[in-house]
Subunit: 411 residues, 2 copies
């Protein structure tokens, strides 16, 4: 009953790691945090050898989960895979929201374990932690990453410490605790939580699992790109709208496309990558508009879309590079637009997005209105988590079963 992908040993192709900024090399199969320059490390593969070992057709015969792409991933030993069922997420058409002659789809990442795309990154990061013998990790989170870490961590027998902002959705805090992690709220934002992790490393013997401070979450998020290409029969959409906080997904997807392109698996052009941020926290948009490669910390960050409330991202230059290389752009949407987009998508398509997912739909609308995309283009939005984790408007009308009911008056 277990996926064949989890029972089958496959050849692996990791050659080394590289600093994402400087390009200096680091050995594979050893514990690494950031590079000497203090920047994220990227995993490198012998892609030529990979391409001479497997074909797209062979991959298509395997079960539809992220481990279909095993040769593109760093885990050496099958037994180290920590899995909770990382199935392919569906791509759902939104015909009632679409404008013009193009197509509008949403990739529904809420179908992954713990209800968010964070499962991709943490599944890989925890599997690699297991492979490399880590047993105590700590992380700041806006909620969903912590939930995914807790679930995979407990399954791997790794003790996890999670710190989240005071206003993190209640359900997130509770699920993190239920899933065996130690979790604390902090009266600050995610970068305050990150500092608490950093300062506790020595005393607590933690490994720092912050976004991009270990090399493997990117590889997990990379599967979004591999999977999307596979689901599109290797011909990608014109534009991808992606909610951008720490940026691992944007960076990971772009890395996937580069790897696939380099071995000739992608047919046609690469998509334009659009980074979507909230008006109240838009460091990447600001840097993009000013033509900078590095982003300043955003002061007084606020937005209801907590997942993209990330005032400072260590992978800023990797995001900005991807946006530029893809001829994409970065834009903001207001909280009002986010909630409006969520309500319209639910009411017109029966699809309940999380606020961050709804931000991509709001950005699609804004982009059409401003002529940033053409209505003839094919567009994929990313709904990164389950809309059920967030507040919805209450509905309290009650019927008394003991009284006669006047139906026609009622509705």
């Amino acid at each position: 009953m277990i996926s064949e992908n989890l029972r089958t040993d496959r050849k692996t192709f990791t050659t080394h790691l590289e600093c994402g900024l400087k390009g200096d090399r680091y050995s594979a199969d050893q514990i690494h945090g950031l590079s000497k320059a203090g920047k994220p490390l990227l995993v490198k593969y012998d892609l030529k050898e990979l391409a001479s070992t497997v074909t797209r057709h062979e991959l298509a015969q395997r079960p539809a989960d992220i481990w279909r792409y095993r040769e593109f991933l760093p885990v050496r030993k099958t037994e180290n895979i920590v899995s909770l069922g990382e199935i392919h997420t569906p791509i759902i058409p939104l015909p009632n929201l679409q404008e013009g002659t193009g197509t509008l789809y949403v990739k529904d990442e809420s179908r992954l374990p713990t209800g968010s795309f964070k499962a991709r990154g943490l599944c890989l990061a925890v599997s690699m932690a297991k492979e490399l013998g880590l047993n105590k990790v700590a992380m700041p989170t806006n909620g969903n990453a912590g939930a995914a870490l807790a679930a995979y961590g407990v399954r791997a027998g790794i003790q996890c410490y999670v710190f989240c902002p005071e206003d993190t959705p209640e359900i997130n805090v509770r699920e993190i605790a239920a899933q065996g992690a130690i979790v604390r709220r902090v009266n600050g934002l995610i970068h305050d939580c990150g500092r608490i992790v950093r300062e506790g490393i020595q005393e607590m013997g933690w490994f720092d699992f912050s976004t991009l401070k270990e090399p493997y979450r990117i590889e997990g998020k990379k599967t979004m790109g591999l999977e999307l290409a596979d689901q599109c029969q290797w011909k990608l959409p014109d534009v991808i709208f992606y909610p951008t906080g720490g940026g691992t997904g944007l960076i990971g997807m772009w890395k996937a496309f580069q790897e696939l392109k380099s071995i000739g698996w992608i047919e046609g052009a690469l998509p334009r990558m659009v980074a979507v941020q909230a008006e109240g926290c838009a460091p990447i948009v600001k840097a993009y508009q000013q033509g900078e490669r590095f982003a300043e910390t955003w002061e007084n960050a606020h937005t209801i879309a907590a997942g993209i409330r990330v005032p400072a991202a260590i992978g800023d230059f990797l995001m900005l590079d991807a946006i530029k290389e893809s001829s994409g752009y970065a834009l903001t949407v207001s909280d009002t637009a986010i909630l409006g987009a969520r309500d319209i998508a639910a009411a017109k398509e029966g699809f309940l997005m999380c606020p961050e997912g709804a931000a991509t739909f709001a950005a699609y609308q804004k982009s059409l209105a401003e002529g940033l995309i053409a209505s003839s283009e094919s567009v994929v939005l990313f709904n990164c988590a389950s809309g059920l984790k967030y507040d919805l408007p209450p509905m309290n009308e009650m019927i008394d079963r003991h009284q006669p009911i006047h139906y026609s008056n009622m509705f």
Copy 2:
């Protein structure tokens, strides 16, 4: 990007419908509620012709969603399929919860649209409603069925009216409203809501979408059985534990196994079907223990597992037949056992079940303790919905970022 299953016309094999109790025939492709005897109708297919048209191998080449099994389903025209991405749900091993030499797996139905297995039934029921031209339907629900109806209904342009008990989880009521349905709470239980639907039919022009009162939800739930068989390479597990409220899933799965068996697709024995109910609402267990084929209404029903709080089920005899034919049994678990099972599964496997799903794990433990199953058997539990929709214990410990942190004292 749309699943090939949703773009491809396939031959269909529905011949007619039959009363589940009396066996009298009804025409296919017409609107039907209950049979003349007031019992559920079952859809019948020309399975011989079906088996001479497709093979298991052919099905395996199609995308992994419920529409892979199109030939076993009643929708005639591909354009009438109303889809939100009904992907195959993963089967996850629970090695830390398993006892003895057998195997313990959970099929995670929370991965379906709107976060529950109700999507299977409502996807089919709404698609058939579209095919048959219904435009106004009403339903009583304990929460998840209403959410699924709302989502598919709004996508199909069908106006939905949903009635739920007062204590339905808040998130369910809100998602139903957000997804375009009209929803009301009722100060009673699901059968009180059912009465309100029934009495409003004439005045409101509703079609009654109550469990088993239209023939197609069973066909949707049947895909659980088809999919399970497919995922197990057509060799089923020894025992299936299923949380039993209205019973559509139990009936549907057993129908699937019968259909597959009749065309020789299943290798080996059929599983024993175990109906799991809560101590505070166990009409099927009581009827099973007394050797009855019909169940009495359960008075003063109460359990935290609201999804299985169904005091009276119109499909009682179909459930009890399936339990008997499969050499299965029915048993109760306490609310305390349910919550304990949920907490252990989350803390040991990183798998957060809903209360109804946790009831099946509690029933597995109880069955082992009472010798109802052997520890060498292969067991599949069904987690029917996302654990995120339900209350979890709070976790309120807070760190003040302005104060020095004494890490070792804190943890």
